[in-house]
Each structure stands twice: as C-alpha cells, then as structure tokens.
Subunit: 219 residues, 2 copies
DNA sequence: TACAAAATGTTGCAAAAACCACAAAAGGTG
DNA sequence: CACCTTTTGTGGTTTTTGCAACATTTTGTA
C-alpha cells in the first residue's frame, strides 16, 4: 500500500504513516470506472481516502435521477460521517468516476488511542479536524447560495463569493455550466435564460465559463 | 469565569479546563438581549461557547431582511471558522437573542501545542472534531433538503429524515411553521398551500406543527 | 481527421412558486 | 381580562421555473 501524501497525513513522516495505517486498520481497494464504492448509510461510518482516480458522491432518487453532491479528487477524503446520509427516499453513495484506488480507514479507531502511535495520532486528528472544518465551510457556503429563492439570486450569490475569493470582477467557473446548474439545484435551460437576461440588463456578462460582474453594486 | 460544562470540554476535569482556558486565551463577555456579538467575517476566526442565554446566527441582506441561519443554545459552540461567511452582499453575524454570556477562545491556539496542557489539549481537539462533524452533518442534511426543486419535495425530504430520526410516522416540528418555511427557503403561504394539497391527497396530514406521514411509500 | 459524446444555446408551454393582502386563531404580558 | 404580537390559514395574480425538444458548438478520442 502506497504511503499517502494527502492532507490527512500532513506533518507525519512516512514511517509514522505506516504505523497509523495499522492503528486505523487501513485497507486499500481498487475500483473500476463507474463502480459503486460504498453506500452512505452504514451505521459505522465510512472514511475513505482517494489515492488515485476520482470519486463522486451521488444521490439517486426513486425515479432513478441522479444528482452529484460532491467530487473528491486524488488525496481527497470522503465520508458519510461528516456529510450526507441516505434516506428512505434517496439513496446516496460514492462512485468511481475513473479507475480509482481508495484507502479505507476505520472511523471508530480515530477516537481510540493505541499505545504505539499516539504522538502521530494527535497530528492525524488535527489534520482530520482541518479537513472537516474545510468541508463544513464549503457546505455552509452552498447553503447560503441555495437559500436564495430565485435563479438570479443564486447566480449572483455565487458570483459574489467567487468575486470575493478571486479578488477580481472576472472569474472562471471551475465546472461546466451543466454542472453549475446542478450545483445551484436549478434547471439548466432556465439558468441559461437567466444568464442571458443578466447579460442584457448589463449586470453580469458570461461567455461560456467566464463570468464578469459589470458592477460590484449588483452583487 | 465559570468552568464550562459543554461538549467541547467533555472528558476533561475542571482543573485541566482551567489550564486550557489559559492555553486558549479564554475571555468571557456578557451581552444584552439583541446585542451584536460579532461579525462572521474576521480573518482570524471567532470561536465562541455559549455559557448562558442563546445566540442566533443571522444573515442580513442589503434590503435589511434578516434570515436566521442557526440557533446556538447553552453550552453550544459557534464559529465562522466552520460555518458561514459574510459576502459583499450579505452580512452575517452572531446576535444574543437573550441576555447571554459567551466565552471566546482563540482559534489559532487550537492548533498550537503549549508545554503544560498537551494531554488535555488532545482531548479538546477530539471534542472539537466531534462538534464540527456534527455541524457538518446538519449542514449536509440541509443541502440535501434544499437540493429539491419543488416545495413538495423539500417538505417530503424533511419528513423523510424526521421519520427516520423519530422512528414513527408522526413527528412534531421543532419550530413554528413560519420558521419552517424559512428553513426550507420557500414562501410561507406557498408552503401552506402545498401542505393542504398533500393533506387532500392523503400523503401527509398536518395539524399545526404535528406532521403525520400516511404511507411510508410517499417519502 | 473523423466520429461520437458532451456541453452550450434557444424556445414554447405548462406548472409551480413568489408576492401580496387579508382574516382568524393562538400566545404572551401587564 | 384586554391588548398586542405572532402564528396560522387562505386565495388571487404575476413571475419564475421546470420540462421537453431541438440546433449548434466544443471536446475527447479512436
């Protein structure tokens, strides 16, 4: 099993990571593209690290429509412990969107202290905390955006955050417009219509994925 | 300053909590009802523990409309580190909804290790991790609910989770219908109309805050 | 380069939701 | 109890949205 070079193990030397692997009962599993990695409903809690490939978290409703809730890149961490749970209606699961390797860690062991690796274990918990804080910020940002009632407000709310982060009135979407509509939880064509309207009103010009806010007062 | 009896300090004895207070530069501040406690936009990060009273996290838009994003009860923790940030458009801040006492902790110190209290510091970080995980789950649950496009689906999605948690097809809203509409980010009157429709269709009966799902197959 | 697949762009139409205005009921308080 | 405030309940009207269907462009890849 390859020693991980991911934020979860930052500031821990390779030898100590190996000890932690034992402590956390690490198991490496390979998945084909499209394969289901796990359901998000286990009582125990899944904790996975993507060591190659890519993982998407998908919600599947009773009609078979699927929505992508999250993308996890290489060295990213996914877990039903801190995000999303299947319900009676909607199934949520992790899928390999590419040929993917995942290292599974035993979640309960995170909070147990074994005798041999305690020092690094503390660092591990700190790293984990930082990651969950980051996930939490991302989620709360999305709640803020989704809390707007109209597509227009959702787009402008997103733009407001993007402008703040980029420091410029122009920014590029980190995803396709199709995915963007999915992120905003709105119909793509309705969003396109609204983008055109915003453009004609001189509020926000868009060219494919490049967005330019024309006046800060609008956002 | 009263020794805290809150999840952030669980499994830590009173004497050690006092040491941690020093380590984390704890400062106790009292607020009158309605007072602004802090803005959610500081670069450093606010970390507050409610030791008496109640705190609400409010978003205030340019028109002056305010939305309550979160309620923090006694012994609860609030922080802009893991949830919500003000943007150019919307101001977000913490307010005392009752006469309230808050103990502020220095966020950067959470990740620093001082020589005298390290043992308890680890426990503190673990406790903090558990709290952030809990907050994260709450947020992701809300994203799941808000990701539905119609009011009907939002209500049923909420009901699905509530039924799962309560273990019964009947549950009582922990808030007013007015607040519930705000939580779902929909117009209250439109929601009332939809609740009536759900009732007439024999899907979900509601009487004030008491909801009864008539058949599990609907949720 | 040629082909297939994905993404972008556009429109009509029906459905849904927001907005508005108001009435009745419930709850809290002096 | 009387008063005020909040919550609940209702319906009309306008706006917004989702849906479906399609053309065009871009992208990836064999």
């Amino acid at each position: 099993m390859k020693v991980l070079n991911c934020p979860l193990f930052s500031n821990i030397r390779a030898e100590e990571v190996k000890k932690l692997y034992i402590c956390l009962r690490a198991k490496e599993v390979k998945f084909e593209q499209g394969a289901e990695i796990c359901a998000y409903d286990s009582g125990k809690g899944v904790l996975g690290v993507v060591t190659s490939g890519e993982v998407v978290i998908k919600k599947i409703d009773p009609n078979g429509n699927s929505t992508i809730l999250d993308h996890i890149q290489k060295n990213g961490v996914f877990s039903d412990v801190f995000a999303f749970t299947s319900t009676e209606v909607n199934f949520i699961g992790a899928y390999a969107s590419l040929p993917t390797t995942v290292v599974f860690l035993d979640y309960p062991s995170v909070f147990k202290r074994c005798e041999n690796a305690c020092e690094y274990h503390s660092t591990f918990v700190e790293n984990f905390l930082k990651i969950v804080i980051e996930k939490s910020k991302t989620l709360s940002q999305r709640v803020e955006i989704l809390s707007n009632k109209t597509i227009r407000e959702k787009v402008l709310s997103y733009a407001s955050i993007a402008v703040k982060n980029s420091g410029s009135l122009t920014f590029t979407l980190p995803m396709s417009l199709t995915s963007f509509a999915e992120y905003l939880c709105v119909d793509r064509s309705a969003m396109m219509r609204e983008l055109k309207k915003l453009s004609s009103q001189g509020v926000l010009k868009t060219n494919k994925r490049v967005f330019t806010v024309l006046d800060k007062k609008y956002i």
